[in-house]
């Protein structure tokens, strides 16, 4: 089945009527609740917890997960387009939803039945916000070199170390910690699902960032934090596999956020170029400007098509690791280029804080870095070539 959905210049084909209703709901909430608040909140580095509460109540925080545990049972093809529309209105919020989904991924895909029954309804219920902790000060792209230690203490682990760059650090209700339970290397890593109120777990002050300031990023410090072994997701030593699987899906979320952000920049550039008059006509009618807009639109559609193909492969149960990396790489590079060009279309006005395009530009940059830098995406893609 193909349902056409068109709003504000974006045409989508959706698999079901309820997906169309879902996109309608998303678009309405995005334009009425997110977009009007974004400029001021970003300028004030205000974290809008109440927006996440509302999205949770509406059921938009857990769309890809099983209905039996409170999820929406939606294919990635649909949930990612919801994310894209959220990002079109407010990237920090969309990234927050994506990171929350990333944080639910280990339990939802690798937890035992008991663990899922016990905790998954809370994680997916919409009331809680999650964080995903892989990076450390000394281990970024080389994530398998992480050194946060979980020492065996009978029924518990005692966890010590520092996690870096953690989205929702200090505001999350639960944290997925990738920790070292064994020897050096990828096989010595385990995944723990811990509550924010675990004693010995504290958050540092948020980083001062270039953009995305409504999404707090902070270090998480662990000093002999006691975590029950029952909170380990998957076997000891399987943590890195869990972490990478979560990132495969998470990268698609970042790709969708990038497309939404680029679309917002294009929307603004199209609008402005229609009213700004030079040489006696709207600058949109000058071929040099209209060609720039045409290139922006083309690059956005290409990125959208690529992340949706990756999503459809995932939904069909096919291997999607490499194409997910391609989608993240292409969509985020595209967002960087499109937001840069949007400033160009605005001329001097684009370089001021009177218009949102300079903010979009600052926000695009981070998407080339998170969930694996774009160099790391190329490593993933390169490794897959010549195999099978």
């Amino acid at each position: 089945m193909t349902i056409a959905w068109q709003t504000s210049g974006v045409l989508r084909r959706l698999p079901t009527p309820e997906a169309a209703s879902l996109l309608d709901l998303t678009h309405e909430v995005a334009t009425k609740e997110l977009r009007p608040r974004a400029d001021e909140a970003e300028a004030a580095a205000y974290f809008p917890r109440e927006i996440f509460t509302m999205l949770g109540e509406l059921g938009l925080m857990s769309l890809p997960y099983a209905e039996q545990f409170g999820g929406g049972d939606q294919p990635y093809e649909v949930s990612l387009q919801v994310l894209e529309e959220l990002s079109r209105a407010w990237m920090s919020v969309a990234v927050g939803v994506s990171v929350h989904n990333l944080a639910c991924f280990p339990l939802a895909n690798f937890g035992t039945d008991d663990q899922q029954r016990q905790w998954l309804p809370d994680l997916l219920g919409g009331g809680l916000l999650g964080a995903y902790c892989l990076s450390e000060p000394e281990s970024g792209s080389d994530a398998a070199a992480l050194s946060t230690r979980a020492v065996d203490a009978g029924d518990d682990y005692l966890v010590s170390g520092t996690k870096a760059w953690i989205t929702h650090g200090g505001v999350a209700d639960f944290y997925n910690l990738m920790v070292r339970t064994g020897d050096e290397g990828a096989k010595g890593i385990s995944c723990l699902l811990v509550n924010a109120d675990t004693s010995g777990l504290t958050a540092a002050a948020p980083e001062h960032k270039m953009g995305g300031n409504s999404s707090p990023t902070a270090q998480i410090h662990l000093v002999d934090a006691r975590v029950s072994k029952s909170r380990r997701i998957a076997a000891e030593g399987a943590g890195f596999t869990v972490a990478l699987a979560a990132l495969d899906a998470g990268r698609l979320g970042i790709a969708a956020c990038a497309v939404g952000l680029a679309q917002a920049a294009l929307d603004a550039a199209v609008q402005y170029s229609g009213v700004r008059v030079q040489f006696g006509r709207p600058i949109r009618d000058l071929q040099g400007v209209s060609f720039m807009l045409a290139d922006m639109a083309t690059s956005i559609e290409a990125a959208r098509a690529l992340y949706l193909e990756a999503a459809r492969r995932k939904d069909a149960g096919l291997n999607f690791t490499s194409i997910a990396a391609m989608a993240k790489l292409m969509a985020t590079d595209s967002a960087m280029k499109v937001t840069t060009d949007a400033i160009q279309v605005f001329g001097g006005a684009g370089y001021t804080r009177d218009f949102p395009v300079e903010r979009f530009f600052r926000e695009a940059k981070v998407l080339q870095i998170v969930e694996g830098t774009n160099q790391v995406q190329r490593m993933v893609i390169g490794r897959s070539l010549g195999r099978g």
Partner: protein
Amino acid sequence: MKIAVCVKQVPDTWAEKKLRSDDSTLDREAADGVMNELDEYAVEEALKLQEAHGGEITIITMGPERAGETVRKALSMGADAAVHLVDDSLHGSDALATSYALATILTGRDFDLVFFGSESTDARMSVVPAMVAERLGVAQLTFAQKVDVDGTSVTIQRVTDYGFETVVANMPAVVSVVEKINEPRYPSFKGIMAAKKKPVETLSTVDAGLEGSQLGLAAAWTVVEDFAARPPKAAGTIVTDEGDGGVKLAEFLATQKFI
């Protein structure tokens, strides 16, 4: 309690509206269709009464095929069932014809309350609720900013230019609402999924027992002969303060009936 809510699909409030050059009616294809904003408040008020008193809510709409989206939205918000009157012959119907069609559908369906928005954002006649009440021969409680139901009677606060009036009527009654009355909910994803299973009765004018001679553009009591785009905003009035600025300002506000 049985509640009906009449909802209308209108072009997106923020979209530029265009008239068709062929028959001077609104070009409904040119913009996204959304539920008339005040009708969302009407649906919300019905849902609140249902939460407090129980009962069933039926959505009634007259409009083209794509008005089905608006019906689905009302069902996703929580209404129980819907009637959708759709027929090409309805195109161009005026307020009289609209009220005739809605009243005919409501007749024989036995309702305690029929909710309306007090005005649509596209045609803005603000007469359909009163006309429907008149046709049904029931009380009309218009411009409600508060609604209370007690046994067999309904009490509203009716907004006026100066404050509000308290109006009481026996049910069944027609109530039209203003935006002060509540804060409409968004449909949740659960609501969207539940709406799929709710009954929608699609009627043609023949199914509804309507007489064709009273419907459509040909039956309209008035004719749009010509139209022109709204002229650009004129410059405002400038009041220079020569010690009497306050008085002049007050006079201006009085002529505009703001005070």
